[in-house]
Amino acid sequence: MKRKQYVMILALIMSLLLIATGCSSGKDAATQDNGNGGTTAADNSKSNGNKTLVFGRGADSVQLDPSKVTDGESMYVTNQIYDTLVRYKQENTEVKPALATDWQTSDDGKVWTFHLRKAVKFHDGTDFNADAVVYNFKRWTKSADFVYYGYMFGASKDNMKGIISDVEAADDYTVKFTLSEPNAPFLQTLAMPPFGIASPTAIKKYGDNYFKHPVGTGPFIFDSWVKDDKITLHKNKEYFGQVADVDKVIFRVIPDNSARFMELQAGTIDVMDGLNPEDMQKVTDDSNLKIVSRPSMNVAYMAMNTSKKGPMSNKKVRQAINMAIDKKKLMSLYQGIGKEAKNPMPPSLWGYNDDVKDYSYNVEEAKKLLAEAGYGDGFTMNLYTMTNPRPYMPQPKLTAEAIQQMLKDVNIKVNIVENDWDTHLAKTEDGEHDAALMGWTGDNGDPDNFLYVLLDKDNAKKGSAGNIAFYKNDQVHDLLKKGQITMDQNDRTEIYKQVQEIVHNDAPWVPIAYTTPPMAVNKKVMDYVPHPTGSEPFNYIKLK
């Protein structure tokens, strides 16, 4: 009898295992493919070296086809595997040659000709050439799934191509883009990781499963992917740019910030993203670790709804509110990762106007301005805020409450209206608010991507507003439009500086902060330069 019990318990365990086995439906499973059909949990390293960089992060990539996703975790990995026609410079958002060696624009700014790098091969051994570029761009117009293409180039249901009316191969190594209207940020946009050029052969070979088998030309080659666990890459020894010093890169998913930090302390990972601000001191105290901060490409702000009748439509009131808010105090809510903002775009972008003098905190002056505007006795306003933290605002609720307290001093009574993120977006886009906390993370490092998107009258349409201050200034509009068709960067810089000056004076916003998210790295990792766009290629990193 006793033996029978053991047999039954064993049978129970075995049957559970069988169920589990039944669920794993074969080799081509979500785990990955390493090119030769085998499935391994660890990487199968093709490079002989053993310098491995382990990168710890909070979430897994969604897909390894960057054209179909918007999440930063996917971009982080694809930025290693793919190249774009042009890439961002290592430390800022200016562009430099990558798959294209040089380019020309026609005088009207509508035709862009790119000369491609020769003798570049995709990781699957096929040739990179003009046909491959054309194939990728045509593919992105075939479905609304290609989110960033639609968003950056203005595709719609009736016009899936957006502003790129034609892409053609002039010869094997020349690609010609014809735009339906001039677009000065075009080059900056092409540098975005979603526009990485993929191997047409691999796309055709894998079809719907391509996103699990990424093939590009980048500094690292894809090995394997165990979902929610790790992604392994090895270096591309044939890379046309700087060949990586590290032989292997492993992206590990460690969801909990504290657990990830302990992994770093234990030495099982080399770099960690998403450091808790309260752990920064521990990093400084640890002789093996150091902090590197990512330059900001975002801005947090309070938008005041200028289209609403009443105090918010009055410039003096908005200026007074700017003076009544003590940003220094608000920064304590950022725990050392925030820098006071004075412009609608961060200083890491070219075109930033450092000459703008921020409104200084001055309650008396604010009261005087309010009295001049006829609101000396104060008024009541609502302030919409989101419940969950955002990269540019770690504590939205406390920020709203602090502003509430500060405005009390100038007799403005603030009612806080809290909503979850999706609802908050919908309500503020509809213009329900008097004022709202909001923020923006840039896409392509072009000032147009901040100023036009967030402050132009074109984007102040109820229901889909990026400009939730509903700020409409024709002079600003004309300048921003001019900025879009001016090809010379120096001229554009002047235009955007002027816009920032006007916006500062009209005060549709209280710019609050730019954040610089901290990362912690082991000191054996050298030359790690985080990029403002949120991800950087690892081929410049050195491992001691």
Binding site: M1, C23, S24, T31, A41, G150, A259, M262
Partner: protein, 334 residues
């Protein structure tokens, strides 16, 4: 017996429909839009609309449910909205990970829990009894989150005895067959991987097993106490049987039914309650996956995974019920 099993298996159908209906409607009750959460706030209104059409989110709810169930009964569990991968494929690595963790946690819980319970019952009111039952009280009220972080801090960061998290060390190779790493390393005779994955599973399994361990220990103690006071035990003593034989052969077997019930229900708890452990120990399992999928409103993933877990739950209950007979032959199923 066979009839009984068939009857129980047929019961799966109403369970299936009930659970699917519940999961389907509950998901749609929480506010949020899968299209929006997938495309983010960068998507244009036109893109959102076309995605909603593609996903059939504009259809009336009964139509959506009918379409979904038709697919399920044809063996198609649907595709993840977020990753575009089939749900079956998505959980093919994650479910084995969770099962592996749960089974090992349960083994810890049973071995330690039953032993502690027996000793406490036999040596009732001794110092061991007091210490282990106080420990069990702490065990049931222990926040896994805190316990997990403390374990990592102590055993990995400070003492460097065990790896902090994950399933396998960087650089250790393992040919995957079932995606249950301990089993796969045994099947391929890869001892290095076995040792490594065992070291990885130790802390999460202990953390996860703490509460079931405490529950089992307390149940074993009270159940054993009841049996030890019965006449046949006294008779066994009078016959001069060895003490260990009395405890394990006679008392434990008779005390085991309620313990078995607890074990069965705790296993279900482990399958569902692993979210925190999986998060702290970076264990790429199904609990965390479902949690993330709920957050991103990935309807097909949540619905289908809940269905699979529900079926597993029913099967575990069935196996528990069948096992009863082996501990108490008087039980009849007909």
């Amino acid at each position: 017996m066979i009839n009984y099993i068939i009857r129980r298996l047929l019961l799966l159908i109403p369970v299936f429909i009930g659970v699917s209906l519940l999961a389907f409607s509950l998901l749609r009750l929480i506010p949020g839009d899968p299209a929006k959460s997938m495309l983010g706030n960068k998507a244009t209104a036109a893109q959102l609309q076309s995605l909603r059409l593609e996903l059939g989110l504009d259809d009336p709810l009964p139509v959506q449910y009918k379409d979904y169930m038709e697919d399920v009964f044809q063996g198609d569990l649907g595709y993840s909205i977020k990753s575009h991968d089939s749900v079956l494929e998505e959980i093919s690595t994650r479910l084995p990970a969770t099962l592996e963790l749960s089974v090992v946690a349960l083994i810890f819980a049973i071995v330690i829990g039953v032993l502690a319970g027996i000793i406490s019952a036999v040596k009732r009111n001794s110092w061991f009894d007091h210490v282990s039952m106080t420990g069990a009280l702490f065990g049931v009220s222990m926040p896994i989150f805190w316990l997990g972080l403390m374990m990592i801090w102590l055993f990995s960061v400070t003492l460097h005895w065990l790896p902090p998290s994950g399933r396998l060390s960087v650089g250790v190779h393992l040919q995957l067959i079932t995606n249950i790493y301990l089993l796969d390393s045994l099947l391929t005779g890869n001892w290095q991987a076995f040792k490594d994955s065992f070291e990885h599973i130790l802390m999460p399994a202990l953390a996860l097993g703490t509460i079931p361990m405490a529950v089992i220990a307390r149940m074993t103690r009270s159940s054993m106490l009841e049996v030890l006071n019965q006449d046949f035990i006294r008779t066994a003593h009078a016959k001069g049987l060895a003490k260990y034989l009395i405890i394990f052969q006679h008392a434990l077997k008779n005390a085991f039914l309620p313990i078995l019930t607890v074990i069965g229900s705790q296993f279900g708890f482990l399958l569902g309650g692993a979210v925190l452990t999986e998060t702290i120990f970076s264990w790429p399992g199904v609990g965390r996956y479902v949690y993330q999928s709920i957050l991103s409103r990935d309807y097909p993933v949540v619905q289908s995974t809940i269905l699979i877990i529900a079926v597993l739950f029913v099967l575990i209950n069935l196996i528990t019920d069948i096992l009863y007979k082996y501990f108490d032959p008087r039980i009849r199923y007909d």
